[in-house]
């Protein structure tokens, strides 16, 4: 043993710096795992510590309709202290900035909410003024800066005016990300009625918050009353539930990033393996001599195994340190996405897990090239040609391959939220590696075939370097290509999603939607549209209704049935249905036949249901349902099932009724139109809101802007992680070039002896690395385009965006990075004095 250690130490002497660099290949992978693992632990403990502040109360009960007297009596019977909130979307008008308008989420509050955690505003006194019932409002900070609103300015909501008393800084229960979708405005509950906004048809969420005595077991309480909540169609949230939900999302995010980190680790390990492969080749003569001097196969193998293990250990430890450093830098990046504060601490179990994963993967991968050491014959010492005979099949190699596959599968399944996802990840990893390696091989082969015979010498030599014996083209393409692939895929996905909403190429589609239009307001609205020169693209009457029964069973019965797998929301929700004689452009019947008209006497109405909902509710053609249309029972039968393209800015519906059934019911309207420019859109919205204050508008630009904002926030984090793979690729590249340095030196000395100039040698390198970078970029981008097309087709159900500028930028960046890394790592090769190299030959 002592011989092995001593020999390993001495043998590494000349190569320690190089070995250290190889070990850096796994540093980033380990760092990512450690940072993510440790940070998740921080998040989990934050959730644990601030549990009550997450909800702001012990129990939150919500409903889509105003509380019935029965429900109210039930809630009062629960005891404790109550607070109320009514929330819905509406338009705010800023009179001081020329009457500009914006869709907001209005929250009317009453009571001492939040009971736990803090309601922070700037300036601080605002919550007490709200509680006092003054005509004041607290606005989302972004809303104030966007519209230049200051404390003391007026805003108009519906028919009344409020004074802004503060900007919202924090309120328990929601993250700032939620607020990006729809900025919040808080007003006193007592001032809600006078705005006149709460008309029929508004989508309102009624919330009641509870604070119980400290000893109350809230979980038991709601568990006992679960059935009663269902009967009254009330939803509820407890601290425990909120904690579980958050914990689950953290686990999912943690899994996602851990797997991304694992890709970096895996890539780095491949880099280590290939560097060790070269290292071992250079040591074959040494091994043969050791064998001649009497070292056994395993003993000489161990000499190098120790070096491999040490290298892995160094990489893993440095990775852990870097990981902790990264962990420190994560909170500012994700602050806006989190609904709570996070305290920093190092999770040693996460550090151990990261280091362990790094060591195991690195060990298995170094084993691959090291195994061949066992087979080096001592004959090599007297006959160099004997070295070539060692390549025969080795059963242990397959064992190592199997162990690697096992390790990857175990890690993935362990990290992934579900084992199917873990296996899917392994599959995707295998496919992308396979495709990259295959493409790389093909492409480098093509480069050889296609290089013109009469090309300048430096070109031919540079290209020849890519396919000469012992080349690392495939490894380098893998390393660089994989990083490119990940980053470009992210960029393309973003472009795809935005393009899809923009509906590029189709400038006839509606881009502005008015809703909450009352029956008597549709005439005036049409007139305004006409005056402003806006075309009415679509108009739909909406009748609200709730479900009474499904295939003969009442909703209450189904809700009580614990075995039922019909989602409760589909039963509890208020359906906003329309009636029409024809299908719209965004709909397609996929089963049954659409009926467009019924006689007013029809007892059972043939309706059309959306496909996904039908599946959730386990409904098929001919099944019967009973609706409660604002007090009037109405029997219906499923006559057709429709496919609906939801993403267009057009009014779409779950349930479509024929003409002749709902005309008499109280209804309101939604209208889709098109404004050519943002200015047109703003003018139109202002005109509508000033004439009809309760009508809300949402325009495409706003959605795009919101989505873009959310994307940029998430993308920072995701790109940050993807960067680990890219940087690992660069380190692998540098390591590969350094490990081939010996061969390079000899060649360059030979070329110089034959009369090549320094300039020529450098130009050969430039050609080589430029081609390498270009190949990696093209292969990576091609894969990304493919992956994006698949994602677009199967997940987002649209066509993938190409974003040529992004692709071109990626290609340029990859080439630049490759060239810089390549030239830096082979720095000095062309300046080496030939004599020194010739001496090393012996």
């Amino acid at each position: 043993m002592s011989f092995v250690l001593r020999m390993a130490w001495r043998d590494s002497r000349a190569a320690r710096r190089r070995l250290a660099l190889y070990s850096f290949s796994i540093v980033l992978g380990v760092a990512a795992l450690v940072a993510i693992g440790s940070f998740s632990a921080n998040l989990n403990s934050a959730i644990e510590g601030q549990a009550k502040g997450l909800l702001g109360a012990d129990l939150a009960v919500h409903s889509r309709v105003a509380l019935t007297p029965e429900a109210k009596a039930f809630l009062d019977s629960l005891g404790g202290e109550q607070a109320r909130e009514v929330a819905f979307s509406t338009m705010v008008v800023f009179p001081d900035s020329g009457g500009r308008t914006r869709l907001v989420s209005l929250r009317a509050m009453e009571g001492a909410y939040p009971f736990y955690g803090e309601f922070l505003t700037n300036p601080a006194g605002a919550p007490s003024r709200l509680a006092a019932g003054e005509a004041v409002a607290v606005l989302e900070e972004t809303l104030m800066s966007q519209f230049g609103v200051k404390v003391g300015d007026p805003i108009r909501l519906g028919t009344s005016t409020f004074t802004v008393v503060g900007a919202l800084r924090n309120i328990p229960g929601e993250s700032a990300a939620v607020a990006m979708l729809s900025p919040r405005i808080f007003i006193p509950y007592s001032r809600l009625a006078e705005t006149g906004l709460l008309g029929p048809g508004s989508l309102v969420r009624y919330k009641t918050y509870f604070k119980f005595a400290a000893a109350t077991d809230v979980e038991r309480l709601v568990e006992d009353l679960r059935g009663r909540f269902r009967e009254l169609r009330l939803g509820f949230d407890t601290v425990e539930e909120r904690k579980n939900e958050l914990g689950q999302s953290i686990r999912n995010v943690d899994a996602f990033f851990s797997l991304v980190g694992f890709v970096a680790l895996f890539l780095g390990a491949i880099g280590v393996a290939s560097a060790i492969h070269v290292y071992v080749r250079q040591r074959i003569a040494t091994v043969a001599v050791l064998r001649c001097l009497g070292a056994g196969a395993w003993k000489s193998f161990s000499v190098y195994l120790v070096q491999g293990l040490l290298l892995g250990l160094v990489g893993a430890v440095v990775g852990a340190v870097l990981g902790v450093a990264i962990q420190v830098s994560l909170p500012p990046l994700v602050k806006d996405l989190l609904p709570f504060d996070v305290d920093f601490f190092i999770s040693w179990s996460a550090v151990l897990r990261g280091v362990g994963a790094g060591l195991v993967i690195c060990f298995l991968f170094t084993l691959l090239p090291l195994l061949s050491i066992r087979r080096v014959s001592p004959l090599v010492a007297i006959r160099a040609s004997a070295a070539e005979e060692t390549g025969s099949r080795d059963p242990l190699r397959w064992a190592v391959f199997a162990a690697i596959a096992m390790a990857v599968i175990v890690f993935s399944v362990w990290q992934a939220p579900r084992w199917q996802v873990g296996l899917g990840f392994v599959g995707a990893l295998a496919v992308s590696f396979g495709v990259l390696a295959g493409l790389a091989r093909g492409v480098s082969w093509c480069a050889r075939c296609l290089v013109p015979q009469n090309a300048p010498y430096v070109w031919r030599q540079g290209i020849a370097n890519l396919h000469r014996p012992n080349n690392r083209t495939v490894l380098l393409l893998l390393a660089l290509g994989l990083g490119t692939f990940l980053v470009v895929t992210l960029a393309l996905t973003r472009a795809t999603l935005l393009a899809q909403i923009q509906g590029v190429g189709d400038n006839q589609r509606p881009n502005l939607l008015f809703f909450d239009i009352q029956d008597d307001q549709i005439g005036p609205l049409q007139k305004i549209l006409h005056q402003e020169g806006a075309e009415l693209k679509a108009q739909a009457p909406i009748v609200t209704m709730r479900l009474r029964s499904l295939k003969g069973r009442t909703v209450e019965q189904i809700l009580k049935d614990e075995g039922s797998r019909i989602p409760a929301w589909t039963l509890r929700r208020e359906y906003r249905s329309t009636y029409r004689g024809t299908l719209s452009a965004t709909e397609k019947v996929i089963a049954g036949e659409f009926v467009g008209k019924v006689s007013p006497e029809a007892a059972v109405i043939p309706i059309s249901i959306e496909r996904g909902l039908a599946k959730d509710m386990q409904l098929g053609l001919g099944d019967t349902l009973e609706f409660d249309v604002q007090g009037v029972p109405m029997a219906a039968r499923i006559a057709s099932i429709r496919e609906v393209e939801w993403r267009r800015m057009e009014p779409n519906f779950f349930m479509l009724f024929p003409e002749g059934a709902l005309e008499a019911a109280p209804k309101f309207y939604v209208v889709a139109t098109r404004a050519e420019t943002p200015a047109d859109s703003a003018r139109l919205q202002q005109a509508v809101v000033s004439a009809l204050p309760n009508v809300s508008a949402i325009d495409l630009a706003l959605i795009l802007q919101t989505l873009d904002g959310i994307f940029s926030k998430i993308q920072v984090v995701v790109q940050f992680m993807a960067l680990f793979t890219v940087v690992t690729g660069v380190i692998v590249l540098a390591g590969a070039i350094l490990s081939g340095r010996h061969q390079r030196l000899r060649e360059s000395v030979l070329l110089r002896t034959l009369g090549a100039s320094r300039r020529q040698l450098i130009r050969i390198q430039v050609v080589e690395y430029t081609i390498l970078g270009a190949l990696a970029a093209v292969v990576g981008c091609a894969l990304a385009v493919g992956a994006n097309a698949l994602l677009a087709h199967f997940v987002f159900e649209t066509a993938g965006a190409l974003a040529p500028l992004t692709l071109a930028g990626a290609v340029a960046a990859v080439i630049a990075v490759t060239l810089a890394t390549g030239l830096l790592s082979s720095r000095g090769v062309v300046d080496h004095p030939p004599l020194e190299v010739l001496r090393q030959e012996t």
């Binding site: 002592s2 011989f3 001593r6 020999m7 001495r10 043998d11 590494s12 002497r13 000349a14 190569a15 003569a285 040494t286 043969a288 001599v289 050791l290 064998r291 001649c292 001097l293 009497g294 070292a295 056994g296 196969a297 395993w298 003993k299 014959s377 001592p378 004959l379 010492a381 007297i382 006959r383 001496r839 090393q840 012996t842």
Partner: protein, 233 residues
Amino acid sequence: MLNVERLTKTYLSAGAPLTVLKEVSFSLSAGDSLAIVGPSGSGKTTLLGLCAGLDRPSAGVVTLAGEEIGRMSEDERARVRNEHVGFVFQNFQLIPTLTALENVQVPLELRGWSGRATEAEGLLERVGLGARRDHYPVQLSGGEQQRVALARAFVNSPKILFCDEPTGNLDGDTAHAMTDLIFEMNRERGATLVLVTHDIELARQCRRLLRLKAGMVVEDLRADEPETKAVHP
């Protein structure tokens, strides 16, 4: 000390079997010296490798220091090499990452020895390189490297020393000095010597000479038997 009986080596390369050694037999007693000569490609290195247990014979028996090495596993043969055998190679084969002294110590360390390097230092002194003990192979000339290799070959007090063209990469004067050193040290330590060489002067200093041609012994000459004993196939 070394007994070789009907030793045959056949390579199966490129499909057709190629017999490079055919039924070679000889035996050497302790303290003997043998020179193996013959044209390039005649199988000298192959024979040496088989005698030293670096490879397995296709047929025949090699008994080294009383142990039949043909039957042994690679690791057992490695042990025999470590205990009984010393090597000097044509291209020196010092381990480039070790200093001269460390190179000499390797066979001892392989046995688990660790301590003051008096023995190895003494041998380096003996070959005239005491002052170069901390130099790496690249810092030594060819002749110096070969002297380090010789010191290494003797450090485990081998019963038998195998040399494959030990002067093949050295110039005339250096080769001459090397030859003298090999024989002097061999005499001092009483080891059996087997050397492959092109160097007639070197060969003539051995008590016995074996000439190979196309894998067969065509001449077997002993210093104490004046006439040539030609072996005909």
